[in-house]
């Protein structure tokens, strides 16, 4: 129980994937224009990341290890992640077409979201158990969602602000992201 709690806190706050490990920056900048979009993206990522970390654990330990093919993990993880994303896309197109439309290109882009592959590979490196890997993926996704929603809320506020012309648009977004990253450095060393 304590172990799972530590994994969650570590993945959400201390080693936040976006702000500390700098993984998954593409959707972080791309889908943070509106809070609703950010929430939709977070939900999709949460689902995909949790499922992908479980699937990649199974593939690694029950397919690659018995065959002595550990060196193929990156390729097979990419295949597994792509399949999970495709399945999510198909299901979402039917069940919530508007979320599908809002996410648009970002849903297929989860495939190339390095956070997803990063979680799968880090799970192997840290030799987590099955529940450990699932919770690590879940925690990483929650951390991603947390900073994505916070960031999009800030960007919505910034839209209404009187920003000097050279800083408008992506420039002020980058500065905000940098400040958020600095703030998250405060968690360093809390959990190993």
């Amino acid at each position: 129980m304590t172990e799972i709690f530590l994994i969650l806190v570590g993945a959400i706050l201390v080693n936040n994937f976006v702000l500390t490990q700098f993984l998954g920056l593409c959707p972080y900048m791309g889908v943070s224009g509106k809070v609703e979009t950010a929430v939709g993206m977070s939900a999709a990522t949460l689902f995909v990341l949790t499922l992908a970390s479980a699937c990649s654990y199974l593939v690694f330990h029950y397919l690659l290890v018995p065959l002595n093919l550990e060196y193929l993990r990156t390729i097979s993880f990419i295949v597994v992640i792509a399949a999970v994303v495709s399945a999510t896309e198909l299901i979402m197109q039917k069940t919530s077409p508007f979320l599908y439309r809002i996410l648009g290109i970002f849903l297929p882009l989860i495939t190339s979201n390095c956070a997803v592959l990063g979680v799968a590979l880090l799970n192997i490196n840290q030799s987590n158990s099955f529940t450990g890997s699932v919770f690590y993926g879940f925690g990483a996704a929650v951390g991603f969602s947390l900073v994505l929603v916070l960031f999009s809320a800030m960007r919505e506020k910034l839209d209404a602000c009187d920003i000097p012309e050279p800083f408008q648009g992506p420039a002020i977004a980058m500065i905000t992201a940098g400040l958020m990253s600095l703030a998250f450095m405060g968690f360093t060393g809390m959990v190993q």
Binding site: L67, L69, I75, S86, F98, R101
Partner: protein
């Protein structure tokens, strides 16, 4: 060479198996979650006013809905106006745009009327109507079924004698002139007074903002108009008058929605009939062409036969 082969075989087989398994899984998912009609198009079509007027440059509301789903601008619908654009912008999560004036300007609902004494019975307006609302036969006077007319003005152009007028539809709206009153101070006296447990002051703000959705969610329909809240309001706000106006607006909106649904069905039937007629015409034409071809072939073969005969008789002539 022999040592390399088994080392190569294992990973290839493993990845092949993985790919096959995943492919089968995706195939099953695709089969299970197959789409029959595009739900996005249907939802957009619901928000369009269903006048089928073609101001947007598409033949009707559904074709425009398909175009919007494929990324066309949402500000090409003059009959829907600002209200439709706002709804679509919310639905599609895009920026609200002002109405594009090159497609027309927002007007009050209208209805077509034929000046019957001047109608020459040419029947040109009948196929132009997208909802089949014009009644009449060639060489007889036509008339417009007013309750079916969507006011699209597509029949005005084809009329050779200009006997069709677009008349503004009067809307019976009970508008209560609200007198000047002091602003709401959120004292809450009205809440204690209300016999049906609604929040009169919140409802007042919703009605004053013309936010009918919020007003509905605040149980506007539950108000029995007992005027108790009016009597205790220290700012002397005529609360019930606001509620009455919101209620009548709501009723008008509902009526419009029912009418739009009806027009949509008629448009679809019209479209279907048009297609069927076209297909029949096509078939007839094909048959005629085929017949003509056969006749021609027969004729030409007959000609050849005759020519041969003549040649033969000529050849035989001198010999005999």
């Amino acid at each position: 060479m022999t040592a390399v082969f088994p080392a190569l075989l294992n990973p290839v087989l493993a990845l092949l198996g993985l790919g096959l398994g995943i492919g089968a899984l995706l195939g099953i998912v695709t089969r299970r979650f197959q789409l029959h009609s595009d739900p996005v198009v249907d939802r957009i079509n619901e928000y369009l006013p269903q006048t089928q007027c073609g101001h947007c440059g598409y033949p009707g509301c559904k074709p425009y809905a398909i175009a919007i789903a494929n990324g066309d601008a949402i500000n090409k619908c003059p009959p829907g106006g600002e209200a439709t654009i706002r709804k679509l912008a919310n639905l599609l999560n895009v920026r609200e745009l002002p109405l594009d004036a090159s497609y027309g300007i927002e007007e009050k609902p209208k209805v077509a009327r034929i000046r019957e004494a001047e109608c020459i019975g040419c029947a040109l307006c009948i196929p132009a109507c997208p909802v089949d609302a014009i009644l009449g036969a060639p060489k007889y006077m036509h008339t417009v079924i007013e309750s079916e007319c969507t006011g699209c003005d597509l029949c005005v152009d084809p009329c050779p004698v200009d006997c069709i007028d677009m008349i503004e539809l009067p809307h019976e709206n009970i508008v209560h002139e609200q007198e000047e009153h002091l602003p709401c101070i959120n004292c809450g006296l009205c809440i204690d007074e209300c016999p049906v447990d609604i929040l009169p002051h919140s409802l007042y703000f919703a009605c004053a903002d013309n936010n009918l959705e919020l007003a509905t969610s605040l149980k506007l329909e539950h108000c029995i108009e007992c005027m108790k809240c009016d009597s205790v309001c220290p700012s002397a706000i005529p609360l019930v008058a606001y509620y009455q106006k919101a209620k009548s607006d709501l009723a008008i909106e509902l009526e419009e929605r029912i009418k739009a649904e009806h027009a949509k069905q008629r448009f679809e039937l019209h479209q279907e009939r048009q297609e069927r007629l076209q297909a029949e015409e096509e078939m007839r034409r094909e048959k005629r062409a085929q017949l003509a071809q056969e006749k021609k072939k027969e004729l030409s073969s007959k000609n050849i036969q005759a020519a041969l005969e003549r040649a033969r008789s000529r050849n035989n002539g001198p010999a005999s």
